[in-house]
Amino acid sequence: MKYEAKLGDKVRVFEFKWDDELLIATSGDHVAALDVSLVGDGEALSLLVDGQSFDIVTDVQGQDVTVQVRGERYEVHVVDERERAAAEVAGNKASGKRELRAAMPGIVVDVKVAVGDVVEEGQTLVVLEAMKMQNPLAAEGPGKVTKVAVAAGEAVAAGALLAEIE
């Protein structure tokens, strides 16, 4: 199984194979024998490569992996071969659905619409309070509200689905 890891603009492809106690990682022309140890209950991932030691913390959330190395923090997007193929197929389908998501975490102060409402482009759907400011979140285009995922008073995480319009 191949894995495509995207960090910033750069995509790197890795393939892994166990060879007895070592893990052989191949990326393009490069081959490395990794001595891998998972510490505790995922506390850390210890990598020894060519005598060098890397103490890494990873947090996998779906295809998004947060990687912490020596005080820096990287968001790496990783897809495997199958997911990539599936995404390519899906990319060809047109979708009429628009999702309204929270750009930052906050508290929902007001929900201005209900399921079934017809809305215009720019119409405020939800008011989100974050960092002590109220942010009206508007429809990106006209349509009908098919889902309202939050209620007033609720705390939402960044990226949380607020409403859907079709």
Binding site: L7, F14, A25, A44, V57, I107
Partner: protein
Amino acid sequence: MPLFRRILVANRGEIALRVIRTAQEMGIETVAVFSDADRMALHVRKANFAAHLGGSTPAESYLDADKVLAAAKEFECDALHPGYGFLSENAAFSRACAEAGVEFLGPSGDAISSMGDKVAARNIALKAGVPLVPGLQDDVDEDHLVTAASEVGYPVMLKAAAGGGGKGIRIVEDESGLIEAFRMARAEAKGAFGDDRVYLEKFVVEPRHVEIQIMADKHGNVVHYGERECSVQRRHQKLVEESPCVVLTPELREEMGKAACDLAREVGYVGAGTVEFLYSRGAFYFLEMNTRLQVEHPITEERYGVDLVREMIRVGAGERVNQPGEPRGHSIEVRINAEDPTNFFPSLGVIKRLGLPGGPGVRLDSAMFRGLEVTPFYDSMLGKLIVHGDDRNQAIARMRRALQELRIVGVATSLPVALRALESEPFTSGNYDTSILTTITSENNEYHLVASLAGALARFLAAERVGAASAAHAEEGGDRAPAWAQLGRRDRLWRATR
């Protein structure tokens, strides 16, 4: 005999824990207060007693003076520590405590209100002989302009009286362009605000935020513990603080220290306070006074070997303030904010894993624990990492080392930004001002390859585990919980190198 029997800690987070720790060391019992959201917080668990305030918003809990004071009475507290934020600079609350016979560990209501009002504070500073940014408080007319400008010194700033948010401001470098700029400023002000009054003020170039820590007792003694340099800020939020400030001369330090003490004396101050100054090219100007303990107080503690909370409790109990000893070495603090380091948006979630730094010269003041849920209700600051070293270079190296050891999983933090700031040329050279963070944006790309590899590897290992788990599940006829199979698989990984 302890100095007080029981102190109510009217705060939450790391500062509440900070106060509890010192009180415990002094043999004084503590009462924590908590909102619904903070039931599991460390300050609730580490105090001797805990009073539930209800609600989750600050207004329903930590800001509700009546509820907090009622708890102090219910638990028969003879003193109250306000921490910072919330009720700490609320003059009415200070007075209410005094009336209720609960010693407020901070200044009187009068001292708080004088310093809380900008105009009043400016007048007190003038009276105490503390330098202000030079300028004219009234509208200038063209006749006096040239004299006035040369008196305050170039560059000068012309400000529309009715302006705000940076609008209607002109910087003039020397006399040659002064009159013309003034006329244009007047015309612009008239056009923009319908009010042509223009003020003149010295333009502070390369401003550094330098502050003096003071402590005052009830017998009129005021001492200072030198300065803290807090210029590493974004949107006026401090991120990294250090002490001493590299550009201060011993003479200037004494002058600033004296000014801060004079100001405190002028208002009959009691307790810990901080006088903030703008420093620029050998001169300093009064900004404001914070009438409470500040977030960054530990760097002062590390250098002077003093426990400022202990001193606050001592002077609150009527004892005389101790004379500060000789400061030693260099100290740096980095704030740990639950924020996305790319855009400073707050980051919410649960701290799933936590690895803390240790070793020589490293101190962590934090309310973090594995399982802590970071909610949107309060400030995003989770704690502070503080280091101390023989000299500035050692302190910087130590902080970099400690930042590399500290791991927080579950919420994003501002720590990578602090690390980059510490590694930047302006910081290491000491030649920086309040604009430093605008010059540091990109992440360190030294570990891009290893991070990409680790990202792919993490997904590969996760898939292996799931695969092994399904296989085990199938073999066992679905009876066995996946958790066991995962453990078996992990066990193989653990032992991969034996």
